[in-house]
Symmetry: C2
Subunit: 347 residues, 2 copies
């Protein structure tokens, strides 16, 4: 799905992440804190961060910068901000997986499970995974506070990083408290650091003004909601092989997705019964999950979500197009390809 | 114990922390992430951060700056760096208390216990406490990346913050893995972010050169070890009322302190038996703990630790004194008072 441009971006971010992990393992350079930092925790954070993922956030940082600056992809500050987003993502995933007790991530063990297995102690694995998230956060912080660009741009980007960090923590808090609907969680947990934050951070580094950033945030938010819709669809219909997660997990967990909300609205009594039979039932048998999944299709919820996903991304791309020469062509082209990646992605 | 100057510094940091928590509750200001952030998690982080503590780290930041710059105490960047240290401290305490299953902190409930009680759910309390630590880290990051001073000083300070953050995570990792002795844990977990980091961050903001920072780090490290020695002594001999922690906790946990290492070296067979009878015994009776505590005194371990503590701080102050006019008088005076606070503190 990803074309050559996106692959090149992913490779560049990967390369920078490897450099950063190598530097972390070599130890601090100031002479103030002298000893190197090689521990199983650093090794596992490195492994998870490099294990893959789509590098979508990193690509959106570069896209945001490219909307305002033609040479953005070559700017070290833009690459570092993109790498910082990937580290922030790893940190959130690590802590989220502890909270949700998720055993798999990116087609392998989640970090607390990997550490528990390695050390033969689940409690120690969990405790060290808290530290592993903290380590990724520390590497992220180091990059953000030292982005090498004009001071006014750096400060603007750093301010967005900080607001985004708080917003995601808040979104996850509301989610844990069950105090928000699918829409609010999608906006905060997903849109804020999947599209809104990355795109505006990139734009700030590309030279956008504060007003232009607000305008761009309004364009980025629906793309983030579309990303979440696609996630919900993959959570229900994707195969374990392409998503890296077990089939039917969202249903068995009773996750309040858009897809579920739509299904509960438009289903017949029979379809609803099939869904409710497995909803939140951790050990629901596979054939019952298959019946519930079929009901999500037959009631029309799948189609509604797919259409909404396309409409959200389409509207955002239209708004960018209507921006005329406010936005550079290179950035616009990249955003179109990222929009396609989001609406059509299969993992 | 704290004199007027230290009280004034603590009040100033407190004031800045209140401003920061108010701003966080009012929500982001960029217009990119629109909604306010008032949750039980934010409230509890605020409560714990403002509940007290000695503000020693904050004072050491100001001291470090004052060693190189007479007006340091009035510099907003210095105050912000000091407040950032207190937020970093809160974040570490919150996550450490989850890992150590500590129920009390600063004379009140630790944060995961406060949230568990408030929400009537221990598991949810623990999960939200992970987020609470993350929230304090986010507030810390926001301050560090936007310290308002000359760019060269800001970058130097930010680099130290980042190395320090990694170093503490590493120290806690080694501690959890049981792969380090009391000395290494004290250097990493305590010295790094209690004295070395704060003093050098302040010095960087005050205009010290990288070489001067390395020199100052070597002076700060023994003060940090002395702080840990004093902590061990308070953990064994302090009353619950002044330390805010239950008496005998370190012994019952089997914590590998300097004090314990010294006692195991210099005790008679009888003294050693009294200590080992409660060491690592979570439900050891109070009278047995009292006998073990008495043995720590009679074997001379207490005296050795007290003397070592005095000697470490004395040596550091001598080194500062020998620096002649490289260091400003105001900063030197403040460091002497902080050294006294550390060697004589009773909480």
């Amino acid at each position: 799905m990803a074309n050559d441009e996106l692959k090149r971006i992913a490779a560049r971010i990967e390369h920078r992440l490897v450099e950063l992990f190598d530097a972390a393992a070599a130890g601090p350079s100031s002479g103030i804190f002298p000893t190197p930092l090689r521990t199983p925790v650093l090794e596992e954070v490195r492994e998870l961060t490099l294990r893959g993922g789509k590098r979508l956030r990193a690509a959106l940082v570069i896209c945001g910068a490219s909307l305002f600056d033609d040479g953005a992809e070559e700017e070290p500050a833009v690459i570092d901000a993109a790498a910082a987003l990937e580290l922030l993502h790893a940190y959130f995933l690590i802590h989220d997986d502890i909270m949700d007790d998720d055993a798999t991530r990116r087609g392998g063990p989640s970090l607390h499970v990997a550490l528990a297995d390695r050390l033969g102690d689940p409690r120690l694995g969990r405790d060290l995974a808290i530290l592993a998230g903290d380590l990724a956060a520390a590497l992220h912080e180091g990059l953000v506070s030292r982005l090498d660009t004009a001071e006014s741009r750096r400060r603007l980007a750093a301010a967005i990083f900080s607001e985004m960090h708080l917003d995601v923590v808040h979104g996850q808090t509301l989610d844990m408290l069950g105090q928000s609907d699918a829409e609010e969680v999608a906006l905060r947990k997903t849109a804020s650091y999947t599209t809104v934050g990355p795109l505006t951070i990139g734009a700030a580094l590309g030279g956008a003004s504060p007003d232009q950033l607000v305008e761009l945030a309004a364009i980025a938010a629906p793309i983030g909601v579309a990303f979440q819709l696609r996630d919900d669809l993959l959570g229900a219909f994707g195969t374990s092989k392409v998503t890296g997660k077990p089939v039917g997990t969202d249903l068995r967990r009773g996750k309040r997705t858009f897809l579920l909300a739509q299904a509960l609205k438009s289903s017949s009594a029979e379809e609803r019964a099939a869904i409710e039979a497995v909803l939140g039932v951790a050990d629901a048998p596979d054939d019952a999950v298959a019946r519930a999944t079929a009901a999500l299709v037959s009631c029309g919820a799948r189609r509604v979500c797919e259409q909404r996903c396309d409409r959200l991304v389409g509207g955002a791309l239209e708004a960018i197009g209507a921006g005329g020469n406010r936005y550079r062509d290179g950035g616009k082209g990249l955003l179109i390809r990222l929009g396609e990646l989001i609406t059509k992605r299969d993992s």
